[in-house]
């Protein structure tokens, strides 16, 4: 174990290397550039490859191409670039190509507030690409968590053959904190499921064996077809309803069956709490401070930290809503994840605390909501 002082962006890059990432394609953008800079230096040291593409669309495309070639692959961007990547994120979901997309959120819309924090991409990370598709979105609230969640993003991506989005924010990306980096053997790394069946028996989208069919890389003797069109089990385009519907059901089912491990939540002081604050990303830090201040004033307050934003932690919120009288959702946006909390807990129970002007929510702002009658 090594103790280091590092930025969130650096921790993300180191987490990627530790997870086995060996390809990165990206385009410079504040506040995510640090990830590209770190990996431009680090990847060739471990025999991996880095490329700066001509734009974000090309970056995510190259990442998917590299993943098809067998490399664990990642890109990193911020709001404007994340918008550009959406079509190909849908391609990765449709073709079931593992890849990790880091979005370091900044103020938006448009060029917005490039150097200011935001949590404005919560809904875009879920529904940014067109069409129904499953997605996994993780959000770290500290530099150390960024390292671990980057590893986890790769593990989920490879295990479930799906794009995974790591939703960071400017605060976590640029903040320096002490991190205890685990040694390589302490890190659990998941590899994609492959197969050695004879080529003529290989179907890249066959649901017979598993909801996550084995994926073989190009160049290994299995000459198959990949497309963004709706496809049959061999990967060829189809218009048959008896092939489209099973595909749709399976890609949602593969994530649903993994919810137990995919949904990561940490509860602090929630037992018997009358008021519970539900937070994620950098906002967790202000929220925890506010909860402690409120406890000092003898309020029964707890905190739910969501590490996984999508799929949404419905059961946890349901559980909390059974005992808590009030749920407070602080966010650096005009209320995005609050919509989900309201859906599950009911609108009457939920109080939103929002700020979208590029400044952090202060503990006092959240405390005021806790104290509000």
């Amino acid at each position: 174990m090594a103790v280091k002082l590092m930025q969130g962006n650096e921790a993300c890059a180191e987490g990627a290397i530790a997870a086995g990432c060996r390809f990165f394609a990206g385009y410079p953008i504040t506040p995510a550039t640090g990830i590209a800079e770190a990996l431009a230096r680090r990847l060739p040291q471990v025999g991996g490859k880095f490329i700066q593409m001509e734009d974000e669309i090309a970056s995510i495309a190259a990442v998917i191409g590299a993943s098809v070639g067998g490399a664990k692959a990642m890109t990193a961007t911020s709001g404007p670039g994340f918008s550009l990547m959406q079509e190909n994120i849908g391609y990765a979901a449709m073709a079931e190509i593992p890849c990790v997309i880091v979005d370091v959120q900044r103020g938006g819309p448009s060029t917005g507030l490039p150097t200011a924090p935001s949590q404005g991409d919560v809904m875009q990370s879920r529904w940014g690409t067109h069409g129904d598709h499953p997605i996994i979105v993780l959000s770290p609230s500290s530099v150390a968590e960024t390292f671990h969640l980057t590893v986890q993003a790769f593990n989920f991506s490879e295990k479930y053959r799906t794009p995974v989005i790591l939703l960071m924010d400017e605060v976590i990306a640029h903040m320096r904190e002490k991190v205890e980096l685990p040694s390589a053997e302490m890190i659990e790394v998941t590899e994609r499921i492959s197969t050695d069946v004879p080529a003529e028996w290989y179907f890249p989208y066959d649901e017979a064996a598993s909801d996550v069919p084995p994926m073989v890389s190009f160049g290994e003797g299995y000459r198959y077809h990949i497309t963004g069109l709706m496809h049959d089990r061999a990967g060829f385009p189809t218009l048959r309803l008896d092939e489209i519907n099973p595909w749709l059901t399976r890609v949602f089912r593969k994530i649903e069956r993994g919810l137990g491990e995919i949904i990561m939540v940490e509860e602090e002081w929630t037992k018997g709490a009358r008021t519970v604050v539900v937070a994620y990303g950098c906002t967790v830090r202000s929220a925890r401070h506010a909860v402690r201040m409120a406890q000092g004033k003898r309020y029964k307050v707890g905190l739910v930290k969501l590490l996984t934003l999508w799929p949404f932690a419905e059961e946890v919120i349901e559980q909390v809503a059974r005992t808590a009288r009030r749920i407070i959702v602080p966010e650096l946006n005009r209320g995005q994840l609050a919509l989900e909390v309201e859906r599950v807990a009911g609108r009457n129970k939920v109080r939103r605390v929002n700020r979208a002007d590029g400044e952090m929510l202060t503990p006092q702002q959240i405390l005021a909501a806790i104290e509000e009658k």
Partner: protein, 275 residues
């Protein structure tokens, strides 16, 4: 004859995916066959060949050939192929695109793949129109041409694909037509063998949309046009001669030895690991 047919069957997913979806008389099948003849003549292992495409009529080609095939998003085939080539530099990666796919929505990727000189073979089937969506003007539609989105005649200059590829830095640039099928497969073979970014413009036609709107006749008439209105050059320097004016010039325009991207990146890895 029989033996030749068998050979083609080795490279086609003929039992699964035929008949193909192209209009009868289309030139894209001729380009596909030329690619197959080139791959066969070079003696490449099918497992080592990838064909990547974008969207459009040409984008459908990978379905029919028995390589590692990938049908990507509109305009982005070269970017997907760049990622694949970087992690599998030993593979021969052939990227097939239409003119709209390669030069409009994908124009940025086209010039940057050329600038990087990454070892991809880009084959642009130029039928000067968006065929699959029903005949809208493309970046290679001639001035004055009628399309569904230029009902009063196209007013935009066409891109000279080969000049663009040369200026952007490609290592190999050539052009032929779907009438000159044998010449086409020779050029494609040279392009695949070339270390670096290579471009072959295969001039074709779309009788279903552009031909119909501009009263250019049957596929046979349009094929005859390619035969009678093209001229071959042996030396790229003689390109601008009078005889070539207004004609489709066929031949090799660029063939230069410049460092290939994935090989340069291997040197980056060496430098990083030595430090």
């Amino acid at each position: 004859m029989k033996r030749e047919e068998q050979k083609v069957y080795d490279y086609l997913r003929h039992k699964k995916k035929f008949p193909n979806m192209w209009c009868a008389g289309c030139g894209i099948g001729i380009v596909m066959h030329a690619i197959i003849r080139a791959v066969d003549r070079l003696g490449l292992d099918k497992d080592e060949v990838a064909m990547i495409s974008g969207i459009g009529c040409t984008g459908r080609m990978p379905v029919y050939v028995d390589f590692n095939t990938m049908h990507t998003t509109h305009g982005r085939a070269l970017a997907f192929a760049t990622g694949l080539k970087m992690v599998r530099p030993e593979m021969k990666v052939i990227v097939v695109m239409g003119d709209g796919d390669a030069l409009a929505i994908g124009g940025n990727h086209f010039i940057h793949a050329a600038r990087r000189n990454i070892g991809l073979t880009a084959i642009v089937v130029n039928n000067s129109v968006y065929g699959m969506t029903g005949g809208q003007y493309s970046p290679t539609t001639p001035i004055g041409g009628l399309t569904t989105t230029a009902p009063y005649g196209n007013i935009e200059q066409p891109f000279p694909i080969c000049d663009l590829a040369r200026a952007a830095g490609a290592a190999f640039v050539a052009r032929s037509t779907v009438y000159h099928a044998i010449e086409l497969d020779r050029l494609i073979g040279q392009a695949i063998e070339k270390k670096g970014f290579s471009v072959v413009e295969a001039v074709s036609y779309c009788h279903t949309t552009y031909g119909r709107l501009n009263k250019l006749g049957t596929p046979v008439d349009m094929m005859r046009y390619l035969k009678e209105n093209s001229v071959k050059v042996r030396d790229p320097a003689e390109r601008r001669s009078k005889e070539q004016e207004g004609k489709i010039v066929r031949g090799v325009f660029v063939d230069r030895d410049i460092p290939e991207y994935t090989e340069l990146y291997d040197q980056v890895i060496e430098r990083a690991q030595a430090a």
